[in-house]
């Protein structure tokens, strides 16, 4: 059985990883490497 410390590390580590991914993703999208490529003016016809 894992200890409370290991469980805490797993839970808060997972939450921290999600925060890091969100920050990276938001920065990437704000830099213009995201949705602008989809919603740009290249719609055919």
């Amino acid at each position: 059985m894992i200890s409370a410390t290991v469980l805490a590390a797993a839970i808060w580590g997972a939450v921290g990883l999600l925060v890091a991914v969100f920050v990276y993703l938001a920065r990437s999208l704000l830099r213009g490497t995201g949705m602008s490529a989809v919603t740009g003016s290249e719609v055919d016809r």
Partner: protein, 492 residues
């Protein structure tokens, strides 16, 4: 318990934000079928990551991982689910790069399999892929209807019709560009909601120490990393998820929609990284449910049992928004993927239809698929058995399917032999089909999900490799592009 009116309002706002993003994606202008189906080169790294993440993470993450944690072995089952969910996305890193290199103008996985192998293996893959994606879509509709009924008493039909109609509206209108744009918005809303929801739940339960003490007292086996049932589940769920996801047209579309091969690599890898904590944290609710003694005979709703019995109302409200965002992002992907798969094949069947005809085909197909999925979702069927069967079919067929991208010596006969022998072994061990064989007096081994999925994958891979070793032919990959359909006017 969240009020029904509040839940419908929260779900409505989430759906409205999504739909606005979807309609803005094509900005009221007429889009070609090529754009609706492929959105080729439109998505940069951020969009690829957000879209793959939002498409892969459906409302199933609120149901299945927690069920694994509560009833299939606790932590090792949850960990296996989390890591196993990331593996297919990581496999797309080399597969996506190779696909863009050998078939840069492609649209669908069936287009590839027809050009690479031939009509018989194409039919095999087409059936498996469509079956898997439809089951996924129907399961999502069922899941969100169940979720909102449990948390807020919303009638399943209301939820299924509301979600299905909105997702259908922007997907039929805006195709893949709409799906990519909405996925991006959904991911940006979803991740913070999950962070706040997970962290808030832990704190509301008294902190990690309190949670650990409760589970250790009442369900200590769920906290053991060597729990045999959990280890077995963690292994077989990895095989189950892998094969089916490789036959997910929604993910293939995003490989071609990426602006560069580097965007594919980084986007899929980032999505894989995000999937692990999402599934892991959702699965922990099952372990907590076991500790709190609220699992009863319904482990499939373990997460909701914890939320409704032990957490404040605001977590329930957040859960409504999370469930709505999860389901719409997956449903629009599946709707568009199924329509794209059939639309690309319609070019062959309809003998070079014009663009307007193809657009109509794509939109009518999207409407039909959505209507059937909503009807199924409102019934509240147990779709787990169908999901497992779809996963088994995927496990049996994905090895030759992918090896064909890299190994010129693999022939259609070799691929068919690999797929059918893998499927035979899988069905023999599969607990749902094993008794059917036994009823006919066929001597079979004891049923086992692990042996069914590992056997289907392993045998299929082994037969593929043997076929490659024995083959004296060499497929010319340069010819793959010749099989690409030109949407709105015959073939290239």
């Amino acid at each position: 318990m969240v009020g029904t009116g509040t839940a419908v309002a929260v779900a409505g706002v989430a759906l409205l934000l999504t739909a606005v993003a979807g309609f803005r994606a094509v900005r009221g202008r007429m889009a070609s079928t090529e754009l609706l189906v492929s959105a080729r080169g439109r998505a940069a790294e951020g969009t690829v990551a957000a879209s793959v993440l939002a498409s892969s993470m459906g409302v199933w993450i609120l149901l299945a991982p927690a069920e694994a944690g509560a009833a299939f072995g606790g932590l090792p089952a949850v960990l296996g689910y989390a890591l196993g969910s990331a593996v297919p996305l990581l496999l797309f890193v080399p597969v996506g790069a190779r696909l863009r290199e050998t078939m840069p103008a492609g649209h669908s996985l069936t287009e590839y399999v027809l050009a690479r192998f031939g009509r018989r293996f194409y039919a095999f893959v087409l059936v498996v892929s469509l079956f898997y994606m439809f089951v996924f879509l129907a399961a999502e509709m069922t899941g969100v209807a169940l979720a909102l009924a449990l948390v807020a008493g919303v009638p399943p039909t209301v939820t299924a019709v509301l979600v299905g109609t909105l997702a259908l509206a922007y997907t039929a209108y805006g195709g893949l560009p709409a799906s990519l744009a909405t996925d991006t918005v959904q991911a940006l809303l979803l991740i913070p909601l999950l962070i706040v929801g997970f962290a808030g739940s832990v704190l509301a339960l008294g902190g990690v120490s309190e949670v650990h003490a409760t589970v250790a007292a009442d369900a200590p086996a769920t906290l053991s990393l060597t729990n045999p049932a959990g280890v077995e589940f963690g292994l077989y769920v990895g095989f189950a998820v892998l094969g089916a996801n490789m036959l997910n047209q929604g993910l293939w579309q995003r490989v071609w929609a990426a602006e560069s091969t580097d965007a594919v690599r980084r986007g899929f890898a980032l999505a894989a990284l995000a999937v692990v904590p999402m599934v892991f944290l959702a699965g922990l609710f099952g372990v907590v449910a076991a500790g709190l003694g609220v699992v009863g005979d319904a482990p499939g709703i373990a997460l909701f049992s914890v939320v409704t019995t032990a957490l404040p109302t605001w977590v329930g409200v957040a859960l409504v928004a999370i469930a709505t965002l999860l389901v719409t992002s997956s449903a629009d992907t599946m709707l568009n993927a199924i329509a794209a798969l059939v639309t690309v094949d319609a070019v062959r069947v309809l003998d070079g239809p014009d663009d307007a005809t193809l657009r109509r085909v794509a939109r009518v197909l999207t409407l039909v698929v959505a209507a059937v999925a909503v009807a199924v979702g409102a019934q509240g069927y147990d779709v787990l058995a169908l999901f497992l069967l779809a996963d088994l079919l995927g496990a049996a067929v994905f090895a030759p399917f992918l090896l064909g991208l890299f190994q010129p010596a693999l022939t259609e006969n070799g691929a068919l032999a690999a797929g059918t022998t893998g499927l035979a072994v899988g069905l023999a061990y599969f607990p749902i089909t094993n008794p059917l064989f036994s009823a006919f007096g066929v001597p079979l081994p004891a049923p086992s999900f692990l042996l069914a999925f590992a056997g289907a994958t392993g045998v299929s891979l082994a037969v593929s490799l043997a076929a490659i070793a024995r083959s004296d032919t060499a497929f010319e990959f340069e010819t793959l592009s010749a099989g690409v359909a030109r949407l709105g006017g015959g073939r290239r």
